[in-house]
């Protein structure tokens, strides 16, 4: 089975590096960036299955990033990562088309299953894309 390509976007570099390594150990092909701008640049250049996106970031915030991702690649799945249950920003993110959200600190098993489900959701939709 082809490894799922994950892009981790968070302003905490240490978090990004640890998550990346753990996901890689679990058979994902994870990459990481620390700003919204970098994430968009990466997505311009490379293919990716799921984006794991922190909502609160300096500069280009998570909500703006998801809006642009959906503009750029509407079917690319985004899973939101949030530091706290600020209902408002999560709701906004979900309304912008996020697949799901996770609260920090996140359990690796939950992350794996959400990422897998998100990727599956995309795969499930793939025939429609092909047919359309």
């Amino acid at each position: 089975m082809e490894a799922l390509r994950i892009l981790i976007v968070d302003d905490e570099e240490e978090l990004v590096s640890a998550l990346k390594e753990r996901l890689n150990l679990r058979g994902f092909q994870a990459r990481g960036v620390t700003t919204g701008t970098e994430a968009l640049a990466f997505l311009e250049a490379e293919e990716c299955d799921v984006v794991l996106l922190d909502i609160k970031m300096p500069g280009l915030g998570g909500l703006e990033v998801i809006r642009r991702i959906k503009d750029m690649k509407p079917r690319l799945q985004v899973v939101l990562l949030t530091g706290h249950g600020s209902v408002k920003s999560v709701e906004d993110g979900m309304a912008l088309g996020a697949f799901d959200y996770l609260m920090k600190p996140v359990k690796i098993d939950s992350l794996v299953s959400v990422l897998t489900a998100a990727a599956a959701g995309r795969k499930f939709e793939a025939p429609q894309e092909g047919g359309g």
Partner: protein, 573 residues
């Protein structure tokens, strides 16, 4: 909980010590004293004046009542004495005019005339004819007074001058108190003689004594020099100065209140006996203070005393009650303020905690992932990961844990109960600490914070917790005012000697002019549903409490500048 707040539980409300410090006793005692004195004064002074007027009026009425019988006695006595003297003067004049010189100088005829006068009028004791040179030619009476010279006697000179004269009482040659009625008859060309009758003082003594209607009083005659002309009961012997004040000559009856040596105050009436040198004096039997007056006076004084006590009691009770109410209201207000201040702090804390939760979740997430990765490496990879890799991960865990610790400590420092504890504070460090709470928000919102601190760290003696709250409130407001990407400048400048100012300027929306006068009012807010309206009013209250001052400059669309000025030394209160 005790570990979190070493100074005691975080509760609103006032401890006893705080209550005392908020509501010092001294001003209330002064208010109490002022109120009691002023109200007592306006209540008691009119009472005293009214009672005094009453007292004087009653006294006047009683005196009037008392003096009326005295005046009547005096008038009756005057009439009786004047009639007595008039009769005898007329009789003497009649004799002197109707009898010839020869008849009168004949001792036997003169004796007959004396007997006639004695039987018709009474009171005459002898009769004599005196030549114009003062030699007594003839004499009828019990004494051997023929040939005596009266040329130098005062009465003799008076009778030559006036034609008729009633003398004062004197002793004369006979050495016995008597007085003289004399009539001068001119016989032609500077020649004439004096017919003189003497009247026994005893006779007029009885007459005067008979006037005494009531026992206990005194009646006597005086001359104009105050010498007693008749004996008195208690005012001296005849021909001695009377122990009673004399009055200047007056044709009317005069009343005088006199002080008797042992009897106390008495009323004395003086009246002039016309045609004589005599003044009739009557001294009232009873004191000037009658039982009726004594009773009334006692009642008046009792009324005054009782009313004063009552007024004082009511005033003292009322003042205590009112001042007590005021004090309780002040305490209640202070407690409400204290609670407001506390709730504002809790609200600020609530706002912060959301941010802090996010902030703290980042290092926790790192710890979680680093530890998870370490576990993954130990479980999933063969052989064991290199030592450096594991140490690196553990370092990261420790660093993140320290980050968490820093955040919690900052929060705890803020959550401490706001008891006024003065200490030396470096304002720039304190501001940096406060900004620590907000730096994440600043970074997310790309708000630029520019600090303009002098190189020498300015130190002030103040309360750390209160200053934190003040700066947090004002900087929070600046954050609320600016758009994302806005700018906030914070600076410290030395103000007037002994003070230091912190200014906080934003380039936000500004405060409309119509709001400027309300921004420090409690519950004034423009953040619909989001603000309590307490932040600035509490900020103002705290700054005042710390002995400082707040000023604001603002322009809509340009920004707002708050200037907080604090004394460098310890605040006075």
């Amino acid at each position: 909980m005790t570990e979190l707040t070493p100074d005691g539980p975080v509760t609103p409300g006032l401890s006893e010590g705080e209550e005392r410090s908020l509501v010092p006793g001294r001003p209330y005692r002064r208010i109490l004293l002022t109120a009691t004195l002023s109200v007592s004064f306006v209540a008691i002074v009119p009472l005293i004046i009214a009672t005094g007027i009453n007292y004087l009026q009653y006294q006047e009425a009683f005196r009037e009542e008392q003096s009326r019988p005295m005046v009547r006695f005096a008038a009756n006595g005057k009439l009786a004495l004047e009639a007595f003297l008039e009769e005898r003067t007329a009789a003497l004049r009649f004799v002197s005019q109707t009898r010839s010189y020869q008849e009168l100088t004949d001792p036997s005829t003169l004796g007959e005339i004396l007997e006639d006068m004695k039987s018709s009028f009474g009171g005459f004791s002898d009769l004599g004819v005196i030549e114009a040179d003062g030699t007594q030619l003839s004499y009828a009476g019990p004494y051997e007074l023929e040939g005596r010279d009266y040329g130098s006697a005062p009465w003799f000179r008076e009778v030559i001058r006036q034609g008729i004269h009633v003398s004062e009482v004197f002793l004369g040659y006979r050495d016995f108190p008597h007085f003289v009625i004399a009539s001068y008859r001119e016989t032609g060309r500077g020649e004439g003689f004096v017919l003189r009758a003497t009247i026994d003082a005893e006779y007029i003594n009885r007459l005067v004594g008979s006037l005494l209607a009531q026992p206990g009083g005194d009646v006597f005659l005086l001359n104009h020099q105050g010498i007693l002309q008749t004996p008195s009961r208690s005012h001296g012997e005849v021909l001695t100065p009377a122990q009673i004040p004399s009055l200047p000559f007056s044709i009317q009856t005069e009343l005088l209140e006199i002080q008797e040596p042992e009897l106390g105050p008495r009323l004395a009436a003086y009246t002039q006996i016309s045609g004589s040198p005599f003044v009739l004096a009557i001294v009232s039997p009873g004191g000037t203070v009658t039982p009726g007056w004594t009773g009334l006076r006692r009642n008046l004084l009792f009324f005054l005393f009782g009313s004063t006590i009552l007024i004082l009691a009511v005033v003292i009770w009322g003042s205590h009650w009112m001042v007590g109410r005021a004090r309780n209201a002040d305490i209640a207000r202070a407690a409400v303020y204290h609670r407001m201040e506390y709730e504002n702090k809790m609200a600020a804390l609530g706002r912060l905690s959301a941010g802090v939760a996010h902030e703290i979740n980042n290092p926790v997430a790192i710890i979680s992932e680093k530890a998870g990765l370490l576990k993954d490496l130990l479980l999933l990879s063969e052989p064991l990961p290199p030592k450096e890799k594991m140490l690196d991960l553990l370092d990261s865990v420790v660093r993140s844990a320290e980050r968490c610790g820093g955040i919690t400590h900052r929060l705890l420092g803020f959550a401490k109960h706001m008891q006024v504890q003065t200490e030396t504070i470096e304002l720039d460090q304190l501001l940096v600490e406060v900004l620590g709470f907000l730096e994440k928000e600043a970074s997310y919102r790309e708000i630029k914070i520019e600090l303009d601190f002098p190189e020498e760290a300015p130190e002030i003696v103040s309360d750390r917790g209160q200053l934190q709250q003040v700066f947090l409130n004002v900087i929070n407001n600046a954050f609320a005012a600016v758009d994302d990407g806005g700018r906030i400048q914070i600076g410290i400048i030395e103000g007037e000697p002994g003070t230091i100012s912190v200014w906080i300027q934003d380039n936000g929306v500004g405060i409309p002019e119509e709001h400027m006068s309300h921004i420090f009012d409690p519950f004034f807010t423009t953040k619909k549903g989001a603000g309590t309206g307490l932040g600035l009013s509490i900020t103002y209250g705290i700054v005042q409490k710390l002995g400082g001052d707040v000023s604001v400059q603002s322009q809509v669309g340009v920004g707002t500048r708050f200037i907080l000025t604090f004394p460098i030394g310890k605040p006075e209160n």
